[in-house]
């Protein structure tokens, strides 16, 4: 019921439509350079960079609106005056926004299949989607934590966007700390597995690249839950 409330409140026209348009633009806005199969697969990696930029904007705006915005508009006070557990409110908002964002981006990313003349069963498409999922989870949990702490929608949006752009700029292509670096590592490992393309990527490196953002996300989610449930005051 809270999921439906969140959907109808924060995903009303034209929010969902703008997110879809943005995702489509991010996918279409990529140069298709190589004609051979390996080259077309490689294009999946090049599109990830632009997708990442749009993701940061979308996550920053939507999660800030859902959490920080509801404080400044008084809607959180209203919700918490009803017999609702705080953990349920947080979970409903978080999961609704996360699942919609990932569904939109994954669906739009699958446009690469016809665009790049790939098979629908091409595993590298789904490897890229898995990479996007991990990044969406990481961005969403971080944005949730920041929004709960900041409680002001505008400042929250700016903080989230600047923080993640800053992180991506500073970390460059670091294989664990930056999204592009992690994606290249994971992508390279599965390319080696499926088509024997060198260089070989160690399995441990891939595990770290995936576990690092997921562990941090879990930590931030637990912190957010404990803070919202037991400590946070709303006035």
């Amino acid at each position: 019921m809270l999921v439906i409330w969140e959907l109808e409140e924060n995903w009303d026209f034209p929010v969902l439509e703008l997110v879809i348009l943005g995702a489509i633009f991010s996918i279409l806005n990529q140069p298709i350079i190589f004609l051979d199969f390996d080259g077309r697969c490689r294009n999946l990696t090049s599109s990830i960079g632009i997708v990442s930029i749009f993701l940061i904007f979308n996550v920053g705006a939507l999660f800030s609106r859902s959490f920080a915005g509801s404080f400044s508009k008084g809607e959180m006070q209203t919700l918490l005056s009803y017999p609702l557990k705080r953990s349920n409110v947080l979970a409903a908002k978080f999961l609704t926004n996360l699942l919609i964002l990932f569904t939109v981006y994954a669906t739009v990313f699958s446009l690469n299949i016809p665009l790049l003349a790939l098979s629908p069963l091409e595993p590298m498409v789904y490897v890229s989607m898995m990479s996007i999922l991990v990044q969406v989870i990481f961005l969403s949990t971080s944005a949730t934590t920041l929004s709960l702490l900041i409680k002001n929608e505008v400042i929250s949006v700016l903080t989230v966007i600047l923080l993640f752009f800053g992180l991506e700029s500073i970390t460059g292509k670091d294989k664990y700390l930056s999204f592009s670096g992690r994606h290249e590592l994971v992508f390279g490992y599965f390319e080696y597995l499926t088509r024997g393309i060198i260089p070989e990527v160690a399995f441990q490196e891939v595990v770290i690249a995936l576990l690092f953002p997921l562990s941090l996300s879990m930590f931030l989610l637990v912190v957010s839950l404990l803070y919202f449930n037991y400590i946070m005051e709303i006035d």
């Binding site: 409140e9 008084g74 918490l80 005056s81 009803y82 006035d235």
Partner: protein, 306 residues
Amino acid sequence: MAGFIVSTTKLTKSFGSVLALDDLNLHIPKGISGFIGPNGAGKTTTINILIGLLKPDHGEASIFGLDSWRESYEIRKRIGVLDEKCGYPKNFTGMKFLKHVARIYNITQSEKRARMILNDIGLSEAGNKPIKTYSAGMTQRLGLAQALISDPELAILDEPTANIDPSGRILLLDKIKELHRDRGTNFLISTHILPELEKICDWISIIRKGKLVDQGYVKELAMKYSANVYRIEVSNPQLLAEKIKKTNVVELVWIEDARIYCKVKNLEEFHEEIPRIIASLKLKLRSFQYMHSSLEEIYKEVAHGE
């Protein structure tokens, strides 16, 4: 404390260097209770602590014997709240919003219930319009509707008549009395409009600078803070007033609308002296009435006095 549905014991809350509540010992019995005080007295902070939005620094707050912070979820099943700072989802229609609220309270036939409460509160025609198109008065009525939709045991209303026109206020006050009479709903009302509160409240709690100044049944407080004024109607008020002024039993005598008002110094002597004077002047006595202090007068004396 036994018999009270809302209790606070040494409730203290600060925001930085500002002491919002200072050892507040509030007790609210069943019935319709008023919670009054000047701006910044701590009324909204008290209400926010009671409904579990804020945690007290020291002391305790409880509703129905349940701790307001630790057992907030259980309390909220039994109360309805109209908070001063509440916001409502602007894209929803009034009807859709109330249906959602009804479902949160596990009310079956949520649509029927929402329609009924919209009708009761005078918003039936605006129910299918988005909340963002509502005026301030309509939004306030919607707030009342969501506070009352679950038929709560206790409705906590912070400034319920703000932005509502006079006829709407009469409707609302009648609704509050009706709900209390027919369904036993208890109310805790925080407002600045004292004459309205006086018409419906049984109990008043007065707060100032975070401290409780006084609380009790309205009639008892009226007696306690009485200005000791009597109103006398006789056939010749001018003559009687002249005579009374020469006695030593009154501080002040004045005439208003052909009625004599006396601020009494000594009640016992007044009761002996005045009938004797009326009899000696052979005047016809029409009424002889003690004037209880109004809530405004009590409030002025208690909340603004030192």
